[in-house]
Symmetry: C2
Subunit: 363 residues, 2 copies
Amino acid sequence: MYIDDLETPALLIDLDIMERNLRRAADYARGHGLRLRPHTKTHKIPLLARKQLELGAAGLTVAKVGEAEVMQAATPPELLVAYPVVGRSKAERLAAVARNTPVTVALDSLFAARQLSEATSRARVQFGVLVEVDAGYGRVGVPPGEVRELAAAIRGLPGIDFHGIAFFPGHILEMGEPALRALCDLRGVITAVLSDLKRAGIPVRIVSGGSSPTLFHSHLVPEMNEIRPGTYIFNDRNTLDCAACGLEDCAASVLTTVVSASRAGRIIVDGGSKTFSSDGPVGRAEVSFGHVVEAPEAVFFRMNEEHGYIDVAAAERSFEVGERLRIIPNHICPAVNLHAQLYGIHGRRVEQVWAVEGRGRIQ
Amino acid sequence: MYIDDLETPALLIDLDIMERNLRRAADYARGHGLRLRPHTKTHKIPLLARKQLELGAAGLTVAKVGEAEVMQAATPPELLVAYPVVGRSKAERLAAVARNTPVTVALDSLFAARQLSEATSRARVQFGVLVEVDAGYGRVGVPPGEVRELAAAIRGLPGIDFHGIAFFPGHILEMGEPALRALCDLRGVITAVLSDLKRAGIPVRIVSGGSSPTLFHSHLVPEMNEIRPGTYIFNDRNTLDCAACGLEDCAASVLTTVVSASRAGRIIVDGGSKTFSSDGPVGRAEVSFGHVVEAPEAVFFRMNEEHGYIDVAAAERSFEVGERLRIIPNHICPAVNLHAQLYGIHGRRVEQVWAVEGRGRIQ
């Protein structure tokens, strides 16, 4: 099968680029003695997770219990749920996973830890726990000064094994000098937390951080011994805008068809927010929903659910109804979540069709 | 089963409100002699489409061929694809649908019409066609002055039956006086197009328009004889912000759980862009991703895929990890697309569980 045989919109993955992205990260992690626990929310496909493990990943990361259930198919040595699992039935489902695969949860409340602890006694399993620290991103995570207290309380719970700390440096988006400064600040925060835990006699085995943009800077925070990048497998326009990858490292693009060209200088393609997600650009003033491969000067300026509006006034040629365009999405993770299949390509040939098994596992 | 038994996030539909919304629109359409061809992209569930038909809808509207395939299960008397279907294999799939159910397509290019015409000869079916006019929204649709030429060309194609014109008044969002003025302008555009077609001796059977916000103003454009609202079945925060419905008319809400409360005045719930979509508000300066039922003064100010950030500083009480909150999404259509099931509720009881059969049918 060839790309031309596919109906549109279709999410294409360049297999060579993906392979190179995976190897580069695996080599980097190995070279710096870092455990790589890739976040599988980007691809949601057990077969690709298996590939990450075969290249040396120490385990897998997921966000939701439903994703943990799906990723068991990759037979990982261990699973990290990098999300505060809350809810009795969720803890029970996770305990069922833990019967086959060691499970660690990153959380930030005693409430969540207690629910997990209760589930372990019923299911006769153990959970590893990381205390999530807010290291500057401002999402989940206790403030650095409160880690010790929560860690101590968690250590008193049965069925729970305190492994260390986790954080997500999602606020570090601008590579180069700004990233170096921010990583220096981050190191200060982490060092203080670790000293605090040491003084309290609480042993720390895992210091887990790492995003895709900061991936290749991880060694600048030597206290960190584990990284959890996700996007790096495919990259996207936002990673590109962070200067954390090049255009040649973007493996994913959406094949679209021009369905309307009724106005001069503007076309409509058959993919909108149900194909790309409506995530806007990160750190870019101009609103744009993707990079048009065949016309980099075109601006993907608006979407509805099934319509992508592209301003082609600045493009070097005109576009006609029926033509196909490839567009690199701003944010590949929610885009993958909208597709039932991904198509692995080699040149113009479609070599793989993967079901997105973790799609929509929001519970 | 009760709401408390559901895992979160879960999309709840209040059955009484939905029923009232459906009846009100059906009664209005009947009272004004309008054909109601509801857009099923909002709910994507054949059973609900069947309900719309039983209440008097003349047919159903879909956006994509895949949705037409799914909606055949509702056994509609006819299907309108309100989208320029482009692609040979798509035209063939649609011809297969047309063997069982009369199919009309709204399109804006001779290219699309020719592809459909070619597919009819192979499959021995007929397609109805509406010429899409851009009546001010600026998406698909030929300029009003070009309708006649396209209609005439389409009438020359075999297998294609020209039914009339279609437009989408998506630009009319502010109800009250601004809507009345805009509808008056719209009427001018439509009248001119119809005169033009009449002069050319081209008979027009269907004049199809109508959005959910303008639904109950449709009689102000008496040339229009068909409406295609979608959102009205559930309504959402954007419909509310348009003053096109009241809070008591919003049937859909997402049940979420507070998973983090590690910062004073701010909570994180377990639904983000993978649960609500990242569609922002329409016509509202403040960025907000939904209306928190239990704390209307709270601001849902940010999202990641699985995280909803809610500022509760202005709320009258505090919120704790494990609590559940219901949130009315900004835009219900892409939200539904992210859920495998919807839960029909009556008070606290869950009475229906519907699979979202049209989810992700983007092709």
